[in-house]
Symmetry: C2
Subunit: 205 residues, 2 copies
């Protein structure tokens, strides 16, 4: 067994599969297209991964593993200010989003909702750290207390996710090119950091 060669073939396949699954989705993806991209015979896909389904799961798992560490942002340590935490999260999140993985994850979860429960089982605990953290901030009067933390969760995630997932439509609606949209979006993390901080800081009255 030649480990290096074997690994690089497997890597080539995975890279191709990632690309194809992310852009076409499981249903639209074709084994032929993946093997073409990887520059190998189609049967090799089955040699390495047995079935399309298993190959897909590998890609899905990897995307999830890249995403989950983001949630550690909300581990409750007291030293860092919530403003900094928030900024850090937004930057990391948006960077992740640029890889297209988010739309991929969402699309496939909608296709097959079982994926959500089965694949995130081992990250179960991480999932509600955000709400716990923000509840605590409210308790300690560091942020406004009149908005349900779950709304804050939804708002932050929406502001981070959607502008990148929906880039094609937004750039078209704003009548600018994809490139111009990307340039516009370069300033976006800062804008929403500021807006969110401003929003969370002051109580409405």
């Amino acid at each position: 067994m030649n480990l290096e060669t074997s690994l690089s073939t497997e890597e080539a396949i995975l890279a191709a599969a990632r690309k194809v699954f992310e852009s076409k989705g499981f249903d639209g993806a074709r084994m032929q297209e993946i093997s073409d991209r990887a520059g190998i015979n189609r049967a090799l896909l089955h040699y390495y991964f047995r079935t399309k389904e298993k190959m897909f799961e590998r890609i899905f798992d990897e995307a999830l593993e890249r995403f989950m560490p983001l949630l550690s942002t909300w581990d409750q340590d007291l030293e860092e200010s919530w403003e900094l935490k928030l900024k850090r999260f937004i930057i990391k999140f948006i960077t992740f989003l640029k890889t297209n993985s988010m739309l991929f994850l969402l699309r496939e979860i909608i296709r097959k909702p079982e994926l959500l429960a089965s694949k995130t089982e081992k990250h179960r605990k991480k999932l509600n750290k955000f709400v716990l953290y923000f509840d605590r901030l409210k308790q300690e009067r560091l942020i406004r207390s009149d908005v349900d933390s779950r709304y804050i969760y939804v708002i932050i995630h929406s502001l981070c996710s959607f502008p990148l997932m929906n880039g094609i439509v937004f750039s078209y609606s704003l009548r600018i090119s994809s490139k111009e949209y990307d340039e516009l979006m370069a300033g976006y993390p800062e804008i929403i950091s500021d807006l969110l901080i401003q929003l969370l800081k002051y109580q409405k009255n």
Copy 2:
């Protein structure tokens, strides 16, 4: 020709097709599933619509036609306050979103980006009304002028769209049932209306 019967068969097919295309996407949709749902023979689908592609286009067009009128909100009339306009838009938008059509549209546009240009051609003018309207509000000092209107566009649409498109994931992350999530979301339009108004009104300094 029996018009009534024919119409109701066609309607049954369209309703079934809408359901299947929206949940599975074009690639995942099966003609067999659509005909089963409509309670008719599969060949009838072709009798009425010739091909899967043509049937899909009909569904896509209809979803777009339901969506486009929302944009008229931003016609520039002076009588209504921008706060009211905004509230009206958010409510209507979120109501539309509940039909699942938004995720459907986005998914299919990503699959086949040409759809965007070809299908929205006749609505081209409506698309940039938002930015024009908000630029004018800034000009007249009715809202803060230090945020690019295109960011405001992106922010508002993200806040409206994503919480409903991503409902499955959000409810899972927040550890509540779909039903509880829906109940939570009942209060959402008001929350973001207030937040956005608060945000747009006051200049940061």
